[in-house]
Chain length 546, copies 2
Amino acid sequence: MRLGLGQFNSVVGDMAANVEAMSRIYRQAMEKGIDLLVFPELAVCGYPPEDLLHKRHFLAANEKAVRDLAAKCPQKTIIVGFPQHYHSNTYNAAAVLQGGKVEAVYRKGLLPNYGIFDEGRYFRPGAEPVVFDIEGVRIALTICADIWTLEWMAEFFKNTIGIQLIVNISASPFHAGKIETRREVVADCAKRFKSAVCYCNLVGGQDELVFDGRSIIADPAGKVVAMAKAFEEDLLIADIEPKSKNKVVVSVPEKERSQPDDMTEEMYAALVLGTRDYTIKNGFKRVLIGLSGGIDSSLVAALAVDALGKEAVCGITMPSRFNSAETISDAGKLAENLGIEFYTVPIGEALDEFNSTLGKVGGWSSEGLAYENLQARIRGTILMSLSNQLGALVLTTGNKSETAVGYSTLYGDTAGGFAVIKDVYKTQVYRLAEYINQRAGKDLIPRDVITRIPSAELREHQKDTDSLPDYDILDEVLKGYIELDKSAKELIDEGLDEKIVKWVIRAVDRNEYKRRQSPPGVKITPKAFGKDRRMPIVNKYTSFGQ
Amino acid sequence: MRLGLGQFNSVVGDMAANVEAMSRIYRQAMEKGIDLLVFPELAVCGYPPEDLLHKRHFLAANEKAVRDLAAKCPQKTIIVGFPQHYHSNTYNAAAVLQGGKVEAVYRKGLLPNYGIFDEGRYFRPGAEPVVFDIEGVRIALTICADIWTLEWMAEFFKNTIGIQLIVNISASPFHAGKIETRREVVADCAKRFKSAVCYCNLVGGQDELVFDGRSIIADPAGKVVAMAKAFEEDLLIADIEPKSKNKVVVSVPEKERSQPDDMTEEMYAALVLGTRDYTIKNGFKRVLIGLSGGIDSSLVAALAVDALGKEAVCGITMPSRFNSAETISDAGKLAENLGIEFYTVPIGEALDEFNSTLGKVGGWSSEGLAYENLQARIRGTILMSLSNQLGALVLTTGNKSETAVGYSTLYGDTAGGFAVIKDVYKTQVYRLAEYINQRAGKDLIPRDVITRIPSAELREHQKDTDSLPDYDILDEVLKGYIELDKSAKELIDEGLDEKIVKWVIRAVDRNEYKRRQSPPGVKITPKAFGKDRRMPIVNKYTSFGQ
């Protein structure tokens, strides 16, 4: 029995295009002699469709799309994920298509409702296994989280005898290192049920999420025998041969796909795909980036060029008297290295004009935070004006470290449509910059940009460390506080400085309002700002107590 | 048996202050001879605490606060809501405090996971009823949603005999008209179980939610015999006397509380409380409002004065050459009527300066949308600069109709901390303005402001109807599309104009990105933008099909 996993880039809400993409893969699969072709979870409508699932007409359009797909793929067997509305309830379902019709429907049993997942909001859990034979192989269907809790699964399948292949359709969003967890989950499932497991994951960017593909096939001993491409569409093939009763042998006819070497390479690929898909799926052809000559905006520009091509990227540098000659020149050098369009729009005159206008209201001062933020807001206004005029999407350049502690100006440097590196800690920003240069075989991002002491350049002689702890310490506190929900006491007990820990925690808590109004960006850590972390703005709790 | 419902304004995360507030109410209750004092759902930590519930130290702090409250309230019996961490799970729980200790804990059985609710994300459902006797009255505990599904409740209590009083602790957020539903729920529950029901609701604003109090006491016949104050703290008292077996008689010793006359009055009160609490709980003493002389900003200013007092409100008018003499003068007149501080900061020179700066980049034009948005962004920058300098919160003035179709400028008129009327349709804006004038007994909001044809005044002779349908039609389409999830076809079948319906649907879908970056505001309709309506930004679905 030849199995194919059709991991593809599904677009949320575009059922016609998704059916078309799957029909195309189906035709390839038929040429390759595939008996069972598997598509990802909710592939028909894309993942996550969120509150589109509350629209009855949307659900009806999905049912129709599934019937269309069945009609277009009459040979062999297809498994595809779709939302099913049935007897007043909605299910996260998998359709079995055979002979041009929907032959069976499996409904997901375990609905994740944590992290970025809200499935309890939309779906009822299913209660019935779906098991069938193809070419002598006994197959059980599962969807995503179903195989992540083996105890539940064992109970669910307790009356089902002789499973030889577990098919799992998934929409598992990326974070760095998660592939190891997925490989373990698939391997453990195979071992537990002594059957082959095939795991078909989605590909593509959807708002803050990136799905990284890397569909997996494991043999009954729990060995991963094949993995599909990372961050790309792919059709992964395996042959599953029944041997003795309840036994199958898995072999892979095609050559192994190359995989990312390390987490930096994965993050890079996720940021590129996330940026490309957000831009293109929203109908933009060009992006604008404010280039300061600093490392954050340089990294974003380099990522944007890899995502969209250099013709699609335009850099704008907006110097004031607080910018050094070096940073201004580095912004130009970077643009030249990347081969992108580049404009210089000085903000000095607009700044002076605002300063005199604001001077008319009592209490205005041309020193201090308000005046610093004003510079960032003038830049934001320039970028957004050009965005409106030219129809280009503004990419913002704030990293996770500064987003966490609010070291940014709302409606200033946070102004834009997509915050490419909002989930990338500053220490990772450096690693990614080095990776990009290494990959290019030259200093695409000028060496000075990487080595210079970071500064927002909003006043004379400013350095980030005037306001912030050293980034390596800051990032350590942030990981503990944000990703692991540790208290001040726990962090201090681990040897971190009490004053720094308390300052960071206060800053993170106090800046929730800024993050709430910031654009989405690519999730690359286990817990990103956004749907992953839902904090109240009005919040008097300080994590100092215990 | 004397019962007291202590509806109070709990602050999220401020366990010490909440315990203090409850101790104060306890002392009043003891003076009034109360035997059973009931506080709302999650009163110890405020509602909704969101991802604070993922912090173990937060849960520990809550357990400690409950013990502190028990120690401070040793006489009689107290019921209070708190999050309980028990055997690796978290529950939405109610503690029974007696003799200075926690005597029993009830765990909520039905966890809402729709609309603004995410309880499935945090809590496990409880499985055990908690029933006890006080002064000869047999009491069963329930929490919020538990009583909204009577079939479930009947099953849950099937082995529990002789309940005479059902205590329900709630945190039920306001929307206009919801009180009728709540009264029905409580009455139906009383009738079904032939017992008295007391329903204790929270009061106060929390981010986008307002809790309106109006705790309810119903007798076993399902008659509502008492209701606590709306949008205010209150201690509602009733005497529950056991008569024959399973029978109680309910009487109310104090005089009836006056209640809002209609939905406009409720909405007004919700907007005032929501604005007051967001401002004060976030530590602000003053607010800034950009006054255009139009009805939206006039309404927001009047609401802000009622929320915070005239000394706390500052109006800034920022005219350009596109503003008429009438609107400029009306902005001043409004400020004078309200007695608030008022500044005029013309934007002409900043606009000219930006225009010449942007002219240096190819493609810039001083006509069209980009130039119109630029004016709004200059105003946003002025307001935010003054906000930073003066430490005042900017209130934005966009209504639900324009927020829905994106008739606003991101980082322009959407720039600010709290969007007071973001859930108020334009047709409701007029009703609220009339209500405020009627309440004041004079035209606090100048008559011209109410009667003038609406315009954004960003170009010569502009009217809202150049870009938008008439507001009465627009609002009808919006209600059908947003609140009822109807398709284009359903709306057209109801007699609405096809061209308008399709234009509105496209505009709503296309502007999700703007709403994602907008500040929170008070929810007053059944479905507000925000946690209530979670739509993808990348979304190719059009609701035109069926």
